[in-house]
Symmetry: C2
Subunit: 351 residues, 2 copies
Amino acid sequence: MNAQKRRKPTQIDIARLAGVSQSTVSLVLNEDPARSQIPAATRQRVTDAIRELGYTANPAARSLKGGRNHLLGLYTFETVFPLDQRDFYYPFLLGVEEEAAERGYDLVLFTSAGSDGRSIYAGGVNRLGVADGCVLLGRHIRRDDLERLVGEDFPVVFIGRRGVEELSFVAADYAAATREVVLKLAGLGHRDLLYLAAPEDSEPSQDRAEGYRQGLAETGLAHDERVVEPGEITADRLTEWLAGGVTAIVVEPTEDDRVAVALQEAAGRARIDIPGDLSVVLLGDPPSWSASPRDWTGFSIPRTEMARAAVEMLIDLLEDRPARRTLFLPCPPVEGDSVAPPRATGGDRPW
Amino acid sequence: MNAQKRRKPTQIDIARLAGVSQSTVSLVLNEDPARSQIPAATRQRVTDAIRELGYTANPAARSLKGGRNHLLGLYTFETVFPLDQRDFYYPFLLGVEEEAAERGYDLVLFTSAGSDGRSIYAGGVNRLGVADGCVLLGRHIRRDDLERLVGEDFPVVFIGRRGVEELSFVAADYAAATREVVLKLAGLGHRDLLYLAAPEDSEPSQDRAEGYRQGLAETGLAHDERVVEPGEITADRLTEWLAGGVTAIVVEPTEDDRVAVALQEAAGRARIDIPGDLSVVLLGDPPSWSASPRDWTGFSIPRTEMARAAVEMLIDLLEDRPARRTLFLPCPPVEGDSVAPPRATGGDRPW
DNA sequence: AGCAATTCTTAAAACGTATTAAGCGCTACT
DNA sequence: AGTAGCGCTTAATACGTTTTAAGAATTGCT
């Protein structure tokens, strides 16, 4: 009814009504109810007044005093809710939300980037500072921003490994998972592998490549590594590779599943059966909207767990609990239908 | 290296470094750049110091003072990122993010609900207060919370109509869209409609029902309104309805598309052709993950636009610009394949 | 009664910012 | 030379809370 802007009641209003001082009101609200300093009678008057005026504490004032405001930042170098990539981001968001909720933190989404190419430092001001700390996420990061952030030692945890000195992160253990893949192929009898890498050189790519090399070294397999554009994967090319002795291909996934799809198509056109004639492993999981009907063998990226762990690490940092600054999470293997023993050999150690 | 907890720099730190007073720092930060009081030299020293220390305004202190902190709350009565309902929420989130970003606001996601059933008032404290204002969203709201919020006149806009006195909202104009549907069916020659309502009594349901009644009143059609559980829609029932003269069914959508799917199945079993024997209109759009291959005729809910408009309204409120407090957005019609003229009549005005 | 111990209550000082009125050193008039 | 005016800077205050140290009131003891 009355639309006048009514000031919210403060502790002083309560104090006046209850006939005590403002400090007493605060004490009633904050004391440990176990061994209380305040007699029941006084407490009663205060709580009555609180009820009568509908008082609620001003969170700004409260957090101003305490230094912490229980806000966790979430900064993405791309849009937070991108329609075309929701499958990529959603599990991360989910994990961040869940863990933050459990720990009693609210989330600040830094969306106000806009004009300046989504820099953290808009007008020389670190906007992240409104939160106690921040979880970072994104494919196309700005390294300068990251370095500056770390320099200021603003508490930050990146989801995914990023090669920035002193930067805390939680990442998927691509190296170990890829190594496992190689061991598994070797165990099935494959002796000649082909590694198809995406043309970008990101940290995840490096980790996978490293794991691949490790696996090869341990098994003493032959290999052929090459960087491939999806357009280059033709039926002819594929046939050529097989003729060269290759029995399994290890594929790095791309954002949009193009390479895997191209491979699938080329194989169809060349009348190559997967996994009969050729085993294929995908180093990660394709987006769920993928058109590919194929259930690729490989491993999955524990996105939600990564996000939760990142939040956990950040909060530990904030609350001065001892915390490791880097963490690798295992990638659960995915048993699909694209891997089998090679045609020629029976299966196990044919020599 | 040094893990010591370093206090975040304040204006006083800046002031010391720049050799000015704290007030000057504040002025540099807040003045209207047009007619500035502060000479370029001083301003330069201050901004240099800001950059050097990585200063960021403390939002708590700022909003305590009465200023704005350019934080917009987003409160959902359910989990913010629910996996099973991402199609429902995503367009809203998208709209909120886009509009907030354009207006230079960051977003606060209130996730720290926890134990008390996602109440806004945790321990009697209105947690929304950290933000300047808040956009609300959710199917299963807590009316008491809403009323209390409005009572405190904390700036709030709900996405969707909610029957709470003085509550601002942006909603889809279900009434108008439903009325249109009835007019359209009447225009095609339908004279006997059946209205299948979901068993819940939410505001959107009320609006649709109202529009339906209006449409009927304007066209003078016969109708049969009933609340139906999906299980009740059987082939027999359907046959019975048709025998009674019904040529078109108007269906209220549910969260999970159950009613529409049940209808489809029952029609199949009763050998009733849609739209040949029976026209069906869906009052809203089914989730995109819907199994139903059917392209229902009806209208779609402008979720992203609703969200954007809600943010716009909220910011107008915050910045003391005149703003309407309720807004209905039109629902664009969807021309599907489930509506046709009734069998019996040729099509237009048979009398 | 006198004094110490205990119980209750409060004044006061932060926390970091925005804002206002006043202060300072100038210049430009009269 | 005196003073009004201007340009720049700052001291002071308020915002609502938590927290601490000290004050007041009451009790207990000799």
